[in-house]
Amino acid sequence: MKVKGRKVAIVGMGGTFPNCTDIADFNHKLFDNQSLIREWDQALAYGKNLRSSVSGFITEAEAGLEMVPSAIYEKLPEIYIDKLNRVPDKNLATADVGSIWAMINTLDAIKMAGWSKEETESEQTAVIMASGGPGSSILRAGWDLFFQLGAKSRHGGPHIVDRTMSYREVANVSCLIKNKGISESIISACATGLGNIGHAYRLISYGIQDRAITGGVEATSIEAFAGFDGMMILSRGFSPEESSRPFDKDRNGFVCSFGSGIVALEEYEMAKARGAKILAVIDGYFNNSDGDGDMFYPSFEGQKRLWKGLLSETGIRPDVVKVHGTSTPSGDSIELFGVVSTLGESGYHISAPKSQYGHMLGAAGAVELISSILMLENQKVLPCLNAVNLNPELERFQSNPEWTGTMKPMEAYRDLIPQKSFSKEINHITCLNYGFGGTNSSISISKDY
């Protein structure tokens, strides 16, 4: 249980963001209303076998990395070289691209937090993070080599497991920073990023740990992209920058993207006592499940219960709701109506940063939390790019006799959904993320006073 009076501060952050050099570049482009989505050469290479070809991605070269191919099989990395010398070779040897991002982001977050070596390596410092998917690109090459090409298992080298296991990001980060506290992963589909941060928040607010490095990662993976493309749920038919269009009536799917976001959490009074800059305070975290037996379709009732749980913990009405907002036809309408049924029809704004960089899957919740921290810092609301036309007609499900939500169309909520970034006083932001299987996560963050 939460220890009374014990608060949690966000004191550091780092990320690997699509088409951005660093967090300052990310900050500039977001509030400049830019899209970070591009045509992806890896997808274009498969021609008509893929429906979609746009993504928010960062190449290895753009991230300062160079792949050294295995001498046995060129598609299998033997190791990556960090051209900027941020991570030692020993740690690079055991890491896939996502784990390398996580290590670099962790170093940035710790530097921003100002933690000492002793604090970082303490028994009171946790590492809590994960990806939504496995290390697909390395698994694929390793499996090709063994199953298709008939090589011996040892020809795949000693690092197939450590670079592909579900726990790989934590394993690599923990070995890098040598923390002695709790290290574990929470896996909850596209709520993974926020789920890990929520779990880390609980470890601190329950008095189990004092600090945590936490977040979500999704390494570049044409394999993951192809899986979603095969479900016919990726955006197609628009220019790259117009492909992600949450709430717009012509939206037809999400943009599959990749990246990572890591934050440093610390017990509030300890952070204050050492003079740390408090980027935000976490007011509360709540997660639940839809409970309707549906793998994919979002649940209005599940999301209403999510809101009820979060608000009963925090009692805080947000100035901005950072929605999951994927740009899928059913997801956005259910989510909008869930927000409206909870908060009413005015007094807040909705921000959908996936409109700018797509859906980073297991990293989404973490990168979007960082985007929300930037909203607090800038006192500006990030837009819902491309939400040009909202449906003036009722959604089909609104005519269902069992529907309990609003009987107004999405267009009625135009004023809540900005198409451009704008300034306003922002003290509180609620962040929402959901995942396949009906898992839902929510967090409330506030400006420090």
């Binding site: 050294v68 295995s70 001498a71 046995i72 033997e78 190791i79 070289i81 070779d89 020993k90 690079l92 040897a93 040892r154 020809h155 080298g157 000693p158 690092h159």
Partner: protein, 86 residues
Amino acid sequence: MERQDIIDGLVEILRTVRMVDQAKLESVTEETDFIADLNTPSTEMINIVSKIEQKFEVEFDDDDIDDMGSKVKDAVDLIIKVKQRS
């Protein structure tokens, strides 16, 4: 193939392994220990053995590798033995 040629070939392989202490490759002898002297992580020996097979066009049996010592001379001996065997 002379033993020194094999050692030279092994050094070429070790130059491609980033975890090996590159500064120590200038003075590799038959008595040099991959792990103790060159700070090679034991897991990386798996990659090194694969590179040896490829470079010297040999194929080691599992027993060959299990029984191989960690000194350069052990690798040289094994390469010669396997070449003669084939």
